[in-house]
């Protein structure tokens, strides 16, 4: 059986713990170096299916500002980031928009929606 160790830096919060993940034949045996449960979750995901929150802006018509900021409601697979951005770039919304309003449903087939993070 092949044992592999991978060093990661946790992105769960700004502390940025140095994590060591021990993998045996591709499955996670142990996570070390984390100071909270977030680190454990992050490390397990990062070596199997890395995900990220994506944030961007969307043009708004008739609002108090030309653009609103948006984000993926939850993290999406890393390899879907650019596909997600393509969909965000095609969208325009009309005022009023509120924080939390769904802008795009099921972005890039991830099952995750794009929501507004700004009122306009």
């Amino acid at each position: 059986m092949s044992v592999e160790k991978r060093d990661l830096i946790c992105i769960g919060c700004p502390v940025g713990c140095n994590l060591t993940v021990t993998l045996e034949s591709g499955s996670v045996m142990k996570v070390e170096g984390n100071t909270c449960p977030k680190g454990d979750t992050y490390a397990r995901k990062e070596v199997t299916n890395p995900t990220r929150i994506v944030t961007s802006t969307v043009e708004v018509v008739g609002g108090s500002r030309p653009f609103i900021s948006v984000k993926t409601k939850n993290d999406i697979p890393k390899e879907k980031i650019f596909e997600c951005m393509e969909e965000i770039k095609k969208v325009k919304v009309t005022s009023p928009v509120h924080i939390g309003d769904v802008i795009i449903e099921n972005v890039a087939g991830t099952g995750i929606s794009i929501v507004s993070t700004k009122n306009a």
């Binding site: 990661l8 830096i9 946790c10 992105i11 769960g12 919060c13 700004p14 940025g16 140095n18 990220r52 929150i53 994506v54 944030t55 961007s56 802006t57 043009e59 500002r65 030309p66 653009f67 900021s69 984000k71 890393k78 980031i81 650019f82 951005m85 924080i99 993070t117 700004k118 009122n119």
Partner: protein, 427 residues
């Protein structure tokens, strides 16, 4: 002249939290003065996530974090004026400001809270030789252009300096279709948070070149390219390592400086290392009744700590006012000599710099930054000559603020305590 109990200068995260806290602590007449067209300050353009983990136990974007505090301030019925530029604060707390509706106006405040935030170090502070073509932006300017105004500053990008805004912008411009060729950092370590190196550079295969700087700028009308060189141990560029990189945009992310014009105008005593006012345990400056918090005091890396600090400033401003009103001579009374905080051996500064035991709360958080990267070292605290704290840290870096907590009863127990020294020790 108008009268207010507390005037808060700036409606960003520090100003909002300070005002909310002052109101919650019983102050009625509070006014926030904000020069932009909305409250929220720089958070409005920080559309990325990662804010509020500490305060709200969830990961918010900048605008969402700001909204939580804007809602609070609105619900508390705190007055604010937008598009309002403060021109001057006098030592007797007369605030001179102007806006379109009122013209120039003055307000007499019982207490003033400085919450003006910071600004970016500009190109002029760096002495980069070469022409001054279009295409050179501070990272924060580029952030505003893209996220608020909707313009892309360029397509082929080099970033000088690895501060957090530069790292965030490397990712943002990449997502918007630009090619970020390299991030160059003069120092042997990044000034940004580790998580940002991972999720903004590593995720997109953007190289970070440490000990590198821009030595020449090419282009007359628009930027055509920059010459990058490695710097030696002496800090000087090494000629043989020069490399020309074609680009149309250069972003500078080379540090933040507290915005000090108003603090200087009223002759507040400044701390040369932070470039912010020198404050005591109450976050009160050298002028009694003028308090400072957030990035105008010292540049933070986490907004959560700005809010926490600002709330303390708001509370202390209220305490100051009620002390003044019960016994105006009280503040004039000779107080016991304050305890001096000494930052040395790897510690660049501490906020606060002095502690008056009679005004100190039961516990006090002292924040500081280290001047270098330290591995497996200790944060040590000495009461006079005696070491009272020795805490091991796996890693400490200048980009990440550290803190220690002092307990009032412990300080009282230590007879005639004069100085508290904070330093980094190898063992």
């Amino acid at each position: 002249m108008e009268n207010y109990d507390i005037v808060v200068i700036g409606g960003g995260p520090a100003g909002l939290a300070a005002a909310a806290s002052a109101k919650e602590n019983g102050c009625e007449r509070i006014l926030i003065l904000e020069r932009d067209n909305e409250l929220g300050g720089i958070l409005n353009q920080c559309i990325h996530n990662g804010f509020g983990l500490h305060t709200f136990k969830e990961e918010l974007t900048g605008p969402e974090y700001a909204d939580r505090f804007i809602k609070k301030v609105t619900e508390l019925g705190i007055e604010y004026r937008l598009h309002t530029m403060v021109m001057d604060i006098s030592e007797d707390k007369v605030v001179t400001a102007m806006n379109r509706e009122r013209g120039l106006f003055t307000i007499l405040a019982k207490a003033v809270i400085l919450a003006m935030g910071c600004r970016e170090r500009p190109r002029g502070a760096l002495n980069i030789p070469g022409y001054r073509p279009a295409g050179i932006f501070s990272a924060g300017t580029a952030q505003r252009l893209i996220n608020i105004e909707g313009y892309m500053p360029g397509k082929e990008v080099v970033i000088l300096g690895s501060g957090d805004i530069g790292l965030i912008m490397a990712r943002r411009m990449t997502l918007e279709g630009a090619r970020v060729k390299v991030v160059a950092e003069l120092l042997p370590f990044s000034g940004g948070l580790k998580r940002n190196i991972v999720q903004c550079l590593d995720d997109y295969n953007i190289p970070l070149k440490l000990r590198h700087t821009v030595v020449d700028i090419d282009g007359k009308e628009r930027l055509k390219g920059v010459t990058l060189a490695q710097v030696g141990e002496d800090g000087k560029p090494i000629k043989e390592t020069e490399e020309y990189i074609p680009c149309d945009t250069l972003l500078l992310s080379v540090g933040l400086i507290p915005e000090n014009e108003l603090s200087n105008a009223c002759k507040i005593k400044m701390e040369p290392v932070t470039s912010g006012p020198l404050v005591n345990e109450s976050l009160e400056t050298s002028i009694s009744g003028i308090f400072a918090c957030g990035n105008v005091l010292h540049v933070h890396d986490l907004v959560d700590y700005v809010s926490e600090e600002a709330a303390l400033a708001g509370k202390n401003a209220v305490k100051y006012i009620s002390a003044m009103e019960t016994d105006p001579s009280d503040t004039e009374k000779k107080q016991a000599e304050p305890i001096q905080l000494v930052a040395t051996e790897g510690v660049r500064y501490t906020v606060p710099a002095v502690i008056n035991l009679n005004k100190m709360e039961d516990s006090l958080i002292v924040r500081f930054r280290v001047g270098n990267v330290f591995q497996d070292s200790y944060i040590s605290v000495y009461y006079d000559e005696e070491r009272v704290m020795h805490r091991k840290k796996k890693i400490m870096a200048p980009g990440e603020m550290e803190e220690i907590k002092l307990q009032r009863d412990k300080l009282i127990q230590f007879k005639n305590l004069r100085t508290i020294t904070v330093k980094i020790e190898r063992e």
